[in-house]
């Protein structure tokens, strides 16, 4: 019987993936790249494509809106990642403890992720609403504010949207960490406690190292998703009070789809992609520690 070598077997298994990746990556990349090299405007029927070379790439960088939306994207991603991470870890730790009704809690925790992102945007928009929002109502009932007021201002819009986004995403993160947590043996904790380590040190030196790989996976995934996040901004702020939540992804959408400026939109998307890849590389470099093979 002719046996496939290891390599051949492996490649056979991942062949569909390679084909898919080609379809998914190469075609849109190539097409978008072509778009960035031309000035495409379907409203100019006499001259739909005008070759412009790399002019778009440079022009986009000089657009002041580009820099501000770049910063907004980073700010949004940073807050979303930090808050989601803290929430996921915290909730996972809590759900790892022996509690009555733990199973029910676990079931409840997954619900925010099961709700579509666009619905989360609508929901939190109503919560923050200045005239009839729930948060206003709560603050008012507890006499924290004298009357309903605008909660979402230009200065805090990014944070508020990031919180809503974290509400949605942290639920998924819990399930990245929870299984890993349950595999950490209690022996290590007991030994550490005997040695006099406080809870924080136990957490830092025992729990976290065991979670290193899920942490990497989650951080990379979450960062990529929050940098590209679009649905929630579309339904919650539409770019925010006075462009406060104008992320790169959002203006890419606006340019490409609403204004039908396909070329600037494609260029922006490329820059967004570079940002995402750069961040992923940073994570890998920092967090990836291939252990020596233990046998």
């Amino acid at each position: 019987m002719k046996a496939l070598s290891d390599d051949q077997f492996a490649y056979l298994l991942i062949l569909p993936l390679i084909i898919i990746s080609l379809a998914m990556i190469v075609y849109p990349l190539a097409f978008s790249f072509w778009l960035t090299l031309n000035d495409v405007n379907f409203g100019r029927p006499s001259n739909v494509y005008i070759f412009t070379g790399f002019e778009q790439w440079v022009k986009v960088l000089y657009d002041p809106q580009f820099l501000s939306s770049f910063l907004i994207t980073i700010r949004f991603a940073f807050i979303a990642v930090v808050v989601s991470l803290l929430l996921s870890l915290g909730i996972a730790l809590l759900l790892n403890e022996p509690l009555k009704g733990r199973g029910l809690l676990r079931a409840l925790v997954i619900v925010p992720w099961a709700i579509p992102e666009y619905a989360v945007g609508v929901l939190w928009k109503y919560l923050y609403d200045a005239d009839i929002g729930l948060f206003n109502g709560i603050l008012y009932v507890f006499h924290i504010i004298p009357g309903y007021t605008t909660l979402m201002l230009e200065s805090n819009a990014v944070e508020l949207v990031a919180i809503a986004y974290s509400w949605h995403m942290a639920s998924l993160g819990v399930f990245f960490f929870l299984p890993g947590l349950s595999f950490i043996s209690q022996e290590e904790y007991r030994a550490a406690r005997i040695d006099g380590a406080g809870s924080f040190r136990r957490f830092w030196h025992i729990t976290l190292p065991h979670l290193r790989y899920p942490l990497l996976v989650w951080l990379v995934f979450l960062t990529m998703e929050s940098v590209r996040a679009l649905d929630i901004i579309l339904t919650m702020t539409g770019g925010g009070p006075n462009l406060a939540t104008n992320t790169l992804s959002f203006i890419g959408y606006k340019q490409t789809f609403q204004l039908l400026n396909l070329s600037p939109g494609a260029t922006l998307s490329y820059y967004l992609m570079f940002l995402t890849i750069a961040l992923a590389m940073v994570y890998f470099y920092v967090l990836y520690r291939p252990k020596k093979k233990a046998d």
Binding site: A3, D6, V26, Y27, L29, A30, F31, F33, W34, L37, N41, F42, G43, R44, P45, S46, N47, V48, Y49, I50, D129, A130, D131, I132, G147, Y148, T149, T150, M152, L153, E154, T237, G238, G240, P241, N242, L243, K254, F257, Q258, L259, L260, I277, M281, F284, Y285, Y288, P290, K293
Partner: protein, 494 residues
């Protein structure tokens, strides 16, 4: 056991860079290849007169050169609508199908990005025969050659006689093509919560221009009746279009046209009334007459907020929302929502708002004689009379949803008048007279006909937002608007 244990390569910086570099090269090569090979075909070029233009290079999924005609059951008429009472459209289309023994397919496109989706559909020529359009969008479609000249309708002359003349004017392109039929007409005007105005003692002295509205808001706020009396439509949203700035400019005695009516050169700058107008908006914002999230409110949000009774003036909204504001189960100000009458002094605005038409447009297609006849009948059914000669559709919209019609016979129909008056419970006949007054005096900017109109309106919206919120100075904002206008004109002249 045959799993060969190779030492896993440590993922280090260099190998990453190597792979990313390889990826970039692949992309560049693929991009060059794509440029020559996978380029989508150009959409039709657009000579304005002449026979049906079919882009020679567009490879379509549907039949191309020889049009094979199918019976109605297999080849329905496709109508694209936005999400406004689709049940009424559905019911009407069923009546059409019955009267003409035909088959209609209604496709509901989300209102938020309606125009973008429809433009994509027009560019890529998916099956679509009739669609809603409005404002400046049908001018754009007309220029690009995407829609049919409705002078080709069999009853075109009768239809045109049956329309308000200024509406007919607004639907005609510069080269005489009829771009659409009237679905409804609207002119956004300020709405007042008379409950608050009565409490402030201002019920008998209506404001005659926008500055006076702001002043009355200040008075109301000072008296402590409500905290945010002003509910302005300042959302620079792409598809809804921030109408206020150019409407106010156009209607104010101190303002005028933004562009020369003949050459369409921009004639506004920092010395014109535009600067004062923006300054008055900014003052209103800075004085906290409105909530600070005023720029993110959608039409639905404003409706909800006005209905909650916490605002004195809604600047501006369509009169067809009146039934909502006066319905006791939907609004806390039921019975107290009213229109602001036009003043007569030298400082008074000549009208409120801009006249806007929601239209039915027909896509330009090589249909073959049978299908063309069917689509023409469909168009006339919705835009004019049904098979029995009644103005069915327009009247139904007027009665059920308070939409103003483009046909005088419908607008003056006693049932319609009664229905409109019943939705204006505060001053009844007087409010209706105000509505007619505003309707007859409203204008539409001439530059709506230009291709760049929509993008310019959007630029107006974004710059005015920045000016009002203080991100840029008013001078810079107006300079920015002017530069954008010039760039857009240049861009579309190539």
């Amino acid at each position: 056991m045959s799993e060969v244990k190779k030492e896993p390569e440590k993922i280090n910086r260099r190998s990453y860079l190597k792979y990313v570099g390889a990826g970039v090269v692949v992309v560049a090569v693929a991009g060059a290849g794509a440029y020559y090979a996978t380029m989508p075909a150009a959409p039709p070029t657009t000579p304005t007169t002449q026979t049906v233009t079919q882009a020679a290079t567009v490879t379509q999924a549907s039949p191309t050169a020889t049009v094979t005609e199918l019976p109605p059951s297999q080849d329905p008429i496709h109508m694209n609508i936005w999400a406004f009472r689709p049940d009424i459209v559905d019911a009407n289309s069923k009546i059409f199908a019955q009267q003409y023994n035909d088959n209609v397919k209604i496709e509901l496109v989300a209102a938020g990005d309606y125009n973008s989706v429809v433009e994509e559909k027009l560019i890529t020529k998916v099956p679509m025969d009739v669609f809603y359009s409005g404002g400046q969008y049908y001018f754009r479609a007309g220029r690009a050659g995407w829609i049919e000249d409705l002078n080709t309708l069999p009853d075109a002359d009768a239809i045109k006689k049956d329309m308000y003349p200024n509406f007919l004017d607004w639907l005609t392109s510069s080269d005489g093509r009829l771009l659409g039929l009237v679905y409804f007409f609207e002119v956004k005007c300020p709405l007042a919560n008379m409950d608050i105005l009565e409490k402030a003692g201002l019920a008998d002295t209506p404001p005659t221009n926008y500055e006076e509205i702001f002043d009355q808001c200040r008075e109301i706020k000072k008296k402590g009746i409500v905290q945010y009396p002003l509910l302005a439509d300042w959302n620079p949203v792409w598809n809804d279009g921030p109408y206020e700035l150019y409407s106010e400019y156009m209607n104010s005695p101190k303002g005028g046209e933004l562009f020369d009516p003949k050459t369409f050169e921009p004639i506004f700058d920092t010395n014109t009334y535009l600067a004062d107008l923006l300054a008055s908006w900014k003052a209103a914002y800075d004085d906290n007459l409105c909530t600070k999230d005023i720029f993110t409110l959608s039409w639905g949000d404003r409706q909800a907020r006005f209905s909650s009774g916490q605002h004195a003036f809604l600047v501006c909204d369509e009169p067809y929302d009146m039934p909502t504001y006066n319905d006791p189960t939907r609004s806390k100000i039921a019975g107290k929502a009213s229109l602001v009458p036009l003043g007569t002094g030298p400082d008074a605005c000549t009208s409120w708002g801009t006249g806007l038409i929601g239209s039915y447009c027909m896509t330009k297609k090589d249909r073959g004689p049978e299908k063309t006849k069917r689509v023409n009948e469909f168009m006339e059914f919705f835009g004019w009379k049904d098979k029995d000669g009644n103005y069915r559709v327009a009247k139904e919209w007027a009665l059920q949803t308070n939409l103003q019609s483009g046909i005088p016979a419908v607008a003056e129909d006693p049932d319609v008048v009664k229905s409109f008056i019943s939705n204006l419970p505060y001053r009844k006949d007087k409010d209706y007279a105000i509505l007619l007054d505003i309707t007859s005096k409203c204008k539409q900017p001439k530059w709506f006909t230009q291709y760049w109109a929509i993008e310019f309106i959007y630029s107006l919206g974004t710059w005015s937002t920045k000016a009002v919120s203080g991100t840029v100075s008013i001078k810079d904002a107006i300079t920015g608007m002017r530069t954008d206008a010039e760039n857009l004109i240049k861009q579309y002249q190539q």
